[in-house]
């Protein structure tokens, strides 16, 4: 049933008794053409675009827990594409373009809200970096501009633009098309749309082994039994290295805890997204009124979805530095996820040394924004058995050739 105002009205009159399931809950089949391991936003998007763009139908998404429950549920929902290097900018921009039509494409309102993202500069070097990134973004066809402290003051009244701040704000880059989206809706929207194209979404199904014969993938072992497959695409974020290990691969990835938190719901007080690398914080306000705030990664490695409170303290010190009037607001709920960080702070969307096995990982602290683009490129890579030109620079072999895409500048703070 199509989601629309009219159907909302019709179903409301019938006391909402006729809404169908957003996605089915099928038993796993014994064989699939493609198995996607990981039912987060990226995995569901991959399945959706495999079906939609490449005509595949016999696809399963295997999720060990509930879909959208990993980093899809744990991020701060920021979407932007203003990356420095052309390789990264074009990939994220592809994603941005998909975001812009996503609600209608999926027929599910993912509440993509283009309220702009400001990246603040506090030092002369910050401003040089901003100039460089904005210049590159513009040439790459992305919207990007530089704003002055005066403009910031008008646009974001609560922001401390005083010259007497500990780290006075010298300016910022602004991407107006950037913004936030409703993270749960992204997972559900992709799930519903993929399901409508025949994709089996199988929750509570943990992959425990990747089966191979003659260096070719043949299937997976799961907590719900053995399933054969021609191709297996793994997109499991923080656990990528664990899954790689099952296939005898080692990935150049470090898994870290990353925390985020929200305030109590407030009347509108912040209309945009503000990020600062130097002061190390980022904040936006959700449609529900909560301030959504991210912290830096915890320095240690681990697979536990919990961080240390010192990181929260530091994040809040940064937020109060930027917004002194937020000090009396209250932290409502904090959580942690596991981020998979590559040495160059860029993702891996790649074939692997095992035929028919593909990995999509290494999104580190900024994977949410890439959800549609990541799925789109990964689907292409799996369906055609070769990367699309957008993700060719993000192959595994770059760590051998040295052709890294160093985005630490754009990704220094988690987001």
């Amino acid at each position: 049933m199509k989601y629309s105002a009219l159907n909302l009205l019709r179903n409301g009159l019938r006391h909402n008794r006729d809404w169908p399931e957003a996605w089915r809950h099928p038993e796993p089949k014994s064989h699939y053409d493609v198995i996607i391991v990981g039912g987060g936003g990226h995995g569901l998007a991959t399945a959706y675009y495999l079906a939609k763009e490449h005509g595949l139908r016999n696809i399963a998404v295997l999720e060990k827990n509930w879909i959208g429950g990993g980093n899809t549920a744990r991020n701060t929902t920021i979407v932007r594409s203003n990356y420095l290097w052309t390789e990264a900018a074009l990939l994220y921009e592809k994603s941005m373009q998909l975001w812009e039509g996503l609600s209608n494409d999926l027929n599910y309102n993912v509440m993509f809200s283009q309220r702009g993202v400001y990246n603040l500069g506090h030092t002369l070097q910050d401003m040089r970096d901003i100039e460089r990134r904005v210049s590159a973004n513009r040439l790459n066809g992305l919207d990007a501009e530089i704003v002055t402290p005066d403009q910031l003051k008008r646009a974001i009244p609560a922001l401390n633009t005083s010259a007497s701040a500990r780290y006075p704000i010298l300016g910022a880059s602004l991407q107006r098309r950037a913004g936030v989206a409703r993270h749960d809706a992204v997972a559900w929207g992709f799930a519903r749309a993929a399901d409508a194209l025949g994709v089996d979404i199988i929750e509570q199904c943990e992959v425990t082994g990747i089966e191979r014969r003659n260096n070719k993938v043949t299937g997976v072992q799961t907590s719900r039994g053995h399933i054969t497959a021609d191709k297996v695409g793994v997109v499991v974020a923080g656990h990528a290295s664990v899954l790689a290990n099952m296939a005898g691969l080692r990935l150049p990835i470090q898994s870290h805890p990353l925390q985020a938190f929200v305030s109590e719901p407030l009347k509108p007080v912040l209309d945009t997204v503000v990020m600062s690398n130097a002061v190390h914080g980022y904040v936006s306000q959700s449609d529900k009124g909560e301030l959504v705030i991210g912290a830096g990664i915890d320095a240690y490695n681990g697979y536990g979805q919990r961080g240390s409170f010192a990181t929260i303290e530091h994040a809040l010190q940064a937020i109060i530095e930027l917004f002194p009037s937020f000090s009396r607001l209250r932290l409502l709920r904090l959580w942690g996820g596991i981020v998979d960080v590559c040495p160059d702070a860029c993702p891996i969307i790649s074939k692997t040394p095992v035929n028919g096995l593909y990995f999509n990982c290494g999104w580190g602290t900024g994977g949410f924004k890439a959800t549609p683009g990541s799925g789109w490129a990964f689907a292409h890579t799996i369906a055609r058995n070769r990367p699309h030109e957008l993700n060719a620079p993000f192959s595994l072999d770059r760590f051998a050739t040295g052709a890294l895409v160093d985005e630490h500048g754009a990704a220094a703070v988690a987001h």
Binding site: Y3, A73, V269, F309, S327, R328, L331, D406
Partner: protein
């Protein structure tokens, strides 16, 4: 007039009358009241409106579980949004306002949404607002404007906060019967005990009940216990202190609320204090939350938890109703009937869903002439802004709960208060935060702690022990066990005597059937704040949102400021019913910090504002300030940026500074450079592995420019290395890299090469560095009594020696970052200002000119010296920077292997070049990208970017440094700088060394 205030009883002080305002009207309360009890005392029932449907709402609870009575306190910079009226202590002058309702909470235009609620079911917004696409921002603004509770302050917080660290043997969360008993047991042993409770008074439920302990009133027992604990120096008691977070390694965070309850004050003391406690053993005794019952219109003002009603009667001397109906599925609410009767209210009936009724308490209630209707339920309430009546019906569970109730059986009872109890849920929040498991108890019908991963134990109602004697016993046992764990002597404290009573077990009743099915009947609320009803959960299940986390997110169940303390368990049980699964399989959502909302300021502590990050100033900073220097922020440092003469701007000052340095002598404070002292038998071996050049071949007394690479072969940092002895080196790093290089060296030394006998000491702050550059710099040093020969023959370029200047011991380095004859002087920081002043004094004869970082940048750019971090970005190899000569071939060093990777050998890598604008006038902004094809459309291929750009005073035209694809081979070619306005400025590629390419001046 406080019309609901009882003549006597309670823990309030009737002699201390406090004036306060609510929604602009003046009221009076008593010292000891909460805002909620004072409002109830005044007969104010309507406190707010709900989130989505704007339904009238009143006080339902008496503590952290309250979802409805959320108010804004005060105004201006010190205003507090989203305060829970049940947790706000009343003070003179308190000014509170409802958060929703326009024009007023009584007449709320927004309540019209209630009529359309069937179109606003769970997740409705995911299904609409999609077309036309452009209108989404309009819809979204409507959503945003209607969402949210309180208003954030608009001015900086006038208050301040602090952090305190504490260690203890036993931390006890909660000072009710179990917590106090545990503290008493632990205190005697000498253990360091911290006991914290979120309320203003210790005692927990004992303050709200009429029990007896050891033949005295429970409140007297509490007073005695507090008195005993106060006599132990090893016990720290923290009232108004919420244990809100439980992290790894028994790290527990407590927010102590110090001043909010005092009302108007001058913000001169700490408002809130964060205790960061590392505890050997934690005892969790936070008690339990009473559950509401779920029936139609269960959200009307005047519908309250039975335990809250008892609390208002017994603790605050307020009787919240005159004609009361009590509705329960368990025994505990019968106490409420007794309390109300004692308070003079008319208890019209106790409605008990159980056919069996209650145990001993039922007889007590009936003995007072109160009607007990067993096998009955309240299925609906009537009224508008306050409850007017309840509709009751016969009820029995035969196998399953009946789907609907027959309409003709309904009986209406008039009342102005409904006290309800759906049983109790242990507050397992902290246990769960600690990593502990919880399990569904089929006996108690609640989740109870089950196994921990840290050193903690739950006791009392928080562990499913409802009866007082069980709480006391568990507290005692937990206290003793903690002491045993700590290896201390266990006291022989005995369990206090209490009277036990016979009770009947609770009847699980998660949803009272209505006359119509849940989709059609009046709303049965689960989460009051977010208007999540039974129908919403049912819809979520129907739509395939089956996991408890999906249901939570789809329906917003438990997302409110109470984080589901009131309604979550009911919601999960209803979910289980619709899934047809046992509650144990459905589980709960994850309990996350904070237990109750905690101020950002508390978490941030004192390190905000100017203390956010230490400001580092050099030992000569005062002089710079007096000289009128403008400063630049570099990491934590403040560095002089330029020294304007009068009203000179940056460009004029820099021009003057640079020309003076090239002509006579300039002086600069370079103290912020990182400095590392390296000593040990393996110093050479160690540094050989870190730096790319031949360290071993350096003679004592010589300096070398050194670079280090990351494992990826990219330039990481640079600086001067001086060999002070056979086993003794001195390194400088970039200002920004000082700490990271030190960590980098220690990382390798400690984790990879622990066999090397090398010692690293950061001496950045120990020595100040004064750089004197220019043709007359040698004469200048000689003019301040240099005790050693500075001639080129005795003290050649790239060497170091100790000396005395102005009677101060110094170390001189003949290195140059300006291309001029130059000396870097290291002097103990205590003497730096003296030496600087002596140099300035003597320098008058040499036209000495102080210069800042901007001139330093220009001077080095004219010479083509790289600044790591400005001209490099982690993607630049030494070869890209014309530094292949620095890569020793006959040894290994970090990053060497990566330099042989295909990408490092690519011919079209971005390489270091100089650029001069073709028109010789345009200064291009640093960061500007370079292109070759000015007609190309996006994505325009970029061939590099400008990393440094200045109007060179020495050369008289602009210069730039850039990383350019294949730049090493492109001298003389033309590229374009692409400006923001779309224009492209032609630039000629040159060598990056614009000035004195032979380096004769610096070697002079």
């Amino acid at each position: 007039m406080q019309k609901n205030r009882l003549q006597s009883g309670g823990r309030i002080d009737r002699t201390q009358v406090l004036n306060f305002r609510f929604n602009g009207r003046a009221y009076q309360g008593c010292a000891g009241d909460t805002l909620a009890s004072a409002l109830l005392a005044n007969g104010v029932y309507l406190i707010g409106r709900s989130f989505k449907l704007h339904r009238p709402r009143g006080i339902v609870g008496s503590g952290a579980e309250e979802p409805n009575a959320i108010v804004q306190i005060g105004s201006g910079a010190a205003t507090l949004p989203n305060q829970c009226a049940t947790q706000v202590l009343l003070y003179e002058g308190l000014d509170a306002n409802s958060l929703r309702g326009w024009p007023s909470v009584q007449f709320d235009v927004g309540s019209i949404t209630n009529w359309f609620s069937r179109f606003l079911a769970a997740g409705f917004y995911y299904k609409t607002f999609m077309a036309p696409r452009k209108l989404w921002s309009f819809y979204e603004k409507l959503i945003r404007d209607s969402a949210g509770w309180g208003h954030a302050p608009t001015k900086a917080d006038p208050d301040f906060y602090e952090h305190r660290n504490a260690h203890c043997d036993v931390l006890i969360a909660g000072a009710g019967p179990a917590g106090l008993m545990a503290a008493l047991a632990a205190a005697n042993s000498g253990a360091r005990v911290i006991i914290a409770d979120e309320q203003s008074e210790f005692g927990g439920r004992l303050l709200s009940q009429t029990d007896e302990i050891d033949s005295m009133a429970a409140t007297d027992w509490v007073a005695q216990a507090i008195n005993t604990l106060a006599q132990h120096e090893n016990v720290r008691m923290l009232p108004r202190s919420t244990v809100f977070g439980y992290f790894d390694h028994n790290f527990v965070t407590i927010a102590e609320h110090c001043t909010d309850h005092l009302g108007a004050h001058k913000h001169t003391t700490v408002r809130e204090r964060l205790w960061r406690v590392r505890a050997r053993q934690v005892i969790l005794a936070q008690g339990a939350f009473e559950r509401p019952l779920v029936f139609c219109n269960n959200d009307r003002p005047g519908v309250m938890l039975a335990s809250a009603v008892s609390t208002y009667v017994n603790r605050y001397g307020v009787c919240p109703g005159r004609e009361v109906v009590v509705f329960a599925n368990n025994d505990s609410a019968y106490r409420c009937a007794l309390d109300l009767d004692a308070a003079g209210a008319s208890v019209k009936a106790v409605i008990d869903s159980r056919a069996t009724g209650a145990g001993d308490l039922q007889q007590e209630v009936e003995a007072l002439g109160i009607t007990v209707m067993t096998g009955h339920v309240v299925t609906n309430t009537l009224g508008s802004q306050q409850i007017r009546a309840v509709q009751i019906a016969k009820f029995s569970i035969e196998g399953t709960v009946p789907a609907t109730l027959p309409a003709q059986d309904l009986v209406t009872i008039q009342c102005d208060l409904l006290a309800m109890s759906g049983g109790w849920s242990p507050a397992v929040h902290l246990h769960s935060q600690s990593g502990g498991r919880i399990t569904w108890s089929e006996e108690l019908h609640c989740f109870v702690p089950d196994g921990t991963t840290q050193n903690c134990v739950s006791a009392g109602a928080g562990n499913g022990a409802w009866e007082l004697h069980d709480c006391l016993r568990q507290g005692l046992e937990a206290g003793k066990a903690a002491i045993e764990y700590c290896g201390l002597e266990i006291s022989d404290l005995a369990e206090p005597k209490t009277e036990g009573i016979e009770t009947n077990s609770l009847q699980p009743l998660w949803r009272v059937p209505a006359v119509k099915a849940p989709d059609r009947c009046p709303k049965q609320f689960l989460d009051f704040q977010n208007d999540t009803s039974v129908a919403d959960v049912r819809l979520a299940v129907r739509e395939g949102y089956r996991n408890v986390e999906h249901v939570k997110r789809y329906t917003a169940l438990g997302f409110g400021t109470d984080q589901g303390k009131l309604g979550n368990i009911n919601g999960m049980a209803v979910l289980a019913e619709y899934l047809g699964e046992p509650i144990a399989n459905v589980g709960t959502t994850t309990f996350r910090p904070a237990y109750t909302p905690t101020s950002f300021g508390t978490c941030a502590g004192e390190t905000v504002g100017q203390l956010f990050d230490p400001v580092r100033k050099t030992a000569i900073h005062e002089w710079h300030e007096a000289a009128g220097a403008k400063f630049e922020t570099v990491g934590q440092w403040l560095r002089p940026w330029y020294f304007p003469d009068g009203d000179e701007d940056l460009d004029a000052a820099v021009k003057r500074e640079c020309l003076a340095t090239r002509r006579s002598v300039g002086i600069m404070d370079a103290s912020t450079l990182g400095k590392i002292d390296v000593q040990g038998p393996d110093a050479v071996k160690f540094l050989e592995r870190i730096y790319t050049h031949d360290v071993g071949k350096m003679k004592v007394g010589r300096c070398a420019y050194g670079i280090m690479l990351g494992e990826d072969g990219m330039l990481k940092d640079d600086g001067v290395m001086a060999r002070l002895g056979e086993q003794h080196f001195y390194l400088t790093t970039t200002t920004g890299g000082a700490a990271s290089v030190m960590s980098w060296l220690e990382l390798w030394l400690q984790t990879e090469w622990p066999d090397l006998d090398v010692y690293l000491t950061s001496v950045t702050d120990h020595y100040s560095t004064i750089s004197v550059a220019g043709p007359t710099s040698r004469q200048l040093l000689q003019a301040i009594d240099c005790d050693t020969s500075l001639d080129a023959a005795d003290f050649p370029f790239m060497s170091t020696q100790t000396a005395t200047l102005c009677n101060l011991p110094v170390r001189l380095f003949r290195v140059s970052f300006s291309g001029e004859l130059a000396f870097e002087i290291n002097v103990a920081s205590d003497h730096a200002l003296t030496l600087w002043c002596a140099l300035m004094d003597a320098g008058k004869n040499f036209d000495i000119t102080p210069y800042g970082t901007e001139s330093m940048h220009v001077l080095r750019a004219e010479k083509g010296f790289v600044i790591v971090g400005q001209d490099t970005d982690g993607s630049v190899t030494p070869t890209d920077l014309h530094m292949s000569w620095m890569l020793a071939s006959d040894k290994d060093f970090l990053g060497k292997r990566s330099l042989r990777r295909p990408d490092a050998l690519r011919a079209d890598r971005k390489q270091w070049v100089g650029l001069i604008p073709a028109d010789k006038t345009t200064v291009i902004a640093e960061g500007t990208q370079l292109i070759e094809d000015t007609a190309a459309r996006a994505p325009v291929p970029m061939c590099g970017h400008i990393s440094s750009s200045y109007d060179s005073p020495t050369l008289g035209h602009p210069i730039a440094l850039a990383l350019l694809k294949g730049g090493l081979e492109r001298a003389g070619e033309k590229v374009y700088a692409s400006l923001a306005n779309g224009k492209a400025v032609p630039m000629t590629v040159t060598s990056p060394v614009f000035y004195d390419p032979q380096g004769e001046r610096q070697r002079d």
